[in-house]
Symmetry: C2
Subunit: 241 residues, 2 copies
């Protein structure tokens, strides 16, 4: 609990202190935060992206500090996954007279939570919805991840990996790689040209052997070549939360 | 939000007011509560079962009231699912200096949350772990539901449906039905005698056509007769949360 509290302290400092979020609640080791209420914040989407990115940087610093003390954080290191979504939600006091909380509810919130969990198969750390991508503006660097139907939703959401933030360190992948390799491969995949997609995702991995997203897609392409889908709309349906 | 708050108000009145729980938090429309902290409550398991049972009764009253006003609650009516687990947990103030909560954490809590969700396929409303069943004593009426390996746990949990509480209304199923029909059928199933189990679960459904648990098991027996399992230890592995 001491370690968890120190982690939450550090992350709350970034999310609230630097990026002016409202922390809704903690659920285990997860932080649920929102923007644009109770006070309007016209740049709410940008702030949310900044908070997600800064948390990852801060986590890297904490890990480096732990390593300098000779403490091991396991094979993967410290991992924090973030889901960001932008849209309308119900905000207000919720609960009973025995316990009232200022909280946010609705479909937008549920999808954000699903995106957090959806990072896992992609190996990504920050997944943002198209709504956030559009609202956040050019300071946020992304690459497209998928057209994803999350559990409990009828419509797919176009999702992106947040890979950089202007002025805050180096991006995870440079623009040339994203445009010429990743987006090209993803384009073939979306059109159902799995052979072409396989070829370009293989090239991606030659360039960036640790690109977990390309690894995932290469695997999917192999499966779709072996067992071609009966109909193809490019939508991936998530079966789990 | 008004309707949700009224619902939470009623349920908190039962859980906290009648049964002395500590409400940890609300997550959407869910209430997370615990007993035996900060003050010791030797009958914590019994109180938790009582709270679960009383909430269902209160919900029935609310539904009857809504119906008397001509309001429709849908085909299934108002549905509330409860998971109860008993065991050690970490309790304390958690969070950051920006937001501190008195909360409970650990494996025991995670399993309780899984049991809540696990009700769905069984059509049950209250699922309690064996630990709770043993600690709660004879006032709590149950029937065995399954030997369940919930997601994220290596060991299976024996789980029960809470079907009654001494002095608080009629049980969902009488003792004779549970002992002579349900438990016999489940016993055959556990031993891997799926043909015998199928026969007795069919008898269960002749007696109680709406017994959703027997419906589920009949379906499982049919599947296991068609596709016999390679090895059988009676454990059902849940793939979802």
């Amino acid at each position: 609990v001491v370690i968890l509290n120190e982690y939450l302290e550090e992350m709350a400092e970034v999310v609230v202190g630097e990026c002016d979020a409202y922390v809704d609640k903690y659920i285990g080791d997860a932080i649920m935060a929102f923007w644009n209420a109770p006070i309007e914040q016209p740049d709410h989407a940008l702030r949310a992206c900044r908070a997600a990115w800064r948390c990852q940087i801060r986590l890297g610093e904490i890990q480096a500090h732990l390593a300098s003390l000779g403490l091991d954080a396991g094979d993967e290191g410290l991992v924090m996954r973030v889901g960001v979504n932008t849209g309308p939600a119900v905000v207000g006091l919720m609960g009973s007279s025995r316990k009232l909380n200022y909280t946010v509810m609705g479909d937008t919130v549920n999808t954000a939570s699903r995106l957090e969990g959806a990072n896992k198969p992609y190996g990504s750390r920050i997944m943002i919805a198209e709504s956030t991508r559009l609202a956040a503006g050019p300071a946020v660097k992304t690459r497209v991840l998928d057209l994803l139907k999350v559990k409990g939703k009828a419509e797919p959401t176009k999702v992106y990996e947040l890979i950089g933030y202007e002025g805050l360190g180096a991006p995870l992948y440079d623009e040339a790689y994203v445009a010429q390799y990743h987006h090209e491969a993803f384009g073939h995949y979306q059109k159902g040209n799995f052979g072409e997609a396989q070829r370009v995702f293989t090239a991606c991995l030659q360039k960036r052997p640790k690109d977990t997203v390309s690894q995932l897609y290469l695997h999917r392409c192999e499966e779709f070549i072996k067992h071609p889908p009966e109909s193809w709309d490019g939508v991936y349906v998530m079966k789990t939360k």
